[in-house]
């Protein structure tokens, strides 16, 4: 019962923080509200007894990724964005359509989970009930065993993805040597000279 009350509180705070995030004019305020939202999501993970994921949510998401955002935001001239129009021309139709999709989501979820229309959500229990997790040494142990046995290949692929993203980010942020755009130094259709091609790379 306590868990349910806490879940409702954190869920309301999560959605409120999310709505605040997308309505702020000042990007720093939006960012802080986004961190608030992430911390509430971490609390919901705690309530689900997913302790490792909750800690990763706080450390990586609310910590590392948001610090990256703060760094980049501080490089920009924030004042100049507040005087401009903040929303697109299609904002009202987008809002109405989004609310309609949300209503659709809720209707479908209600139909599926209430077992009124012939469907019902059945739990496929894979053998990790909270008691068994406690007996096996806690959430971290079971999580790590599942990750490094069943999910080893996706784990390695994720590391490659992170490496590629890092290289891509460095290349895109790097300043060009000559002005804004790299200028073309050979005629269209002609082969570039070897030294030019090397310089382009």
């Amino acid at each position: 019962m306590v868990e349910k009350i806490l879940f409702i509180i954190f869920a309301v705070l999560t959605v409120a923080g999310a709505i605040g995030t997308i309505t702020r004019k000042n990007m720093i305020h939006g960012l802080l509200l986004l961190v608030f939202t992430f911390l509430n999501v971490a609390a919901i993970f705690f309530l689900t007894q997913a302790y490792f994921v909750a800690m990763i949510q706080i450390l990586v998401y609310a910590g590392a990724i948001m610090v990256l955002f703060v760094f980049v935001l501080m490089f920009l001239n924030l004042r100049s964005f507040q005087q401009e129009k903040q929303t697109h021309r299609q904002r009202w139709i987008a809002l109405v359509l989004s609310v309609l999709v949300l209503v659709e989501f809720v209707a479908v979820l209600y139909g599926v989970t209430k077992a009124k229309y012939g469907f019902s959500l059945a739990s496929v229990q894979g053998g990790y009930s909270p008691d068994q997790i406690a007996a096996a040494g806690g959430n971290n142990q079971v999580f790590a065993k599942a990750l490094f046995n069943d999910m080893l290949l996706p784990f390695e692929v994720a590391s490659v993805v992170l490496l590629v993203a890092m290289v891509g980010a460095i290349i895109m942020v790097k300043k060009e040597k000559h002005g804004q755009m790299a200028t073309r130094q050979w005629e269209p259709g002609a082969e570039p000279a070897l030294d030019v091609a090397e310089e382009e790379v």
Binding site: A11, V53, V60, G168
Partner: protein, 108 residues
Amino acid sequence: MSTVPGGIPIPVDWYLYLSAALFMVGAVGILTRRNLFIMLFSLELMMNAVNINLVGFSGFHQNMTGQNFVLFTMAIAAAEAAVGLAIATALFRNKKTLMVDLFDTMKG
């Protein structure tokens, strides 16, 4: 109420409703705001909605795969944030603005 005896005491539908609400808030942010950074924030919100779904079903099905997938979602979110911020920086350096409807060089 979709709970499992001896499992997580919160019904799984609640996670689904919360996730749907958070996802649609993120979608509204993407569709209505002109600011590139607010759109990136909205993307993060939508990814978190997916994570809530995964963790909720992980508790419901008593299976660790959902929680493992949250780790992968976070890795992809970190990669997306790095690349997205790099693109935003490059765009700002060239155009001196972050309003996405002004980036119309390709007449899209």
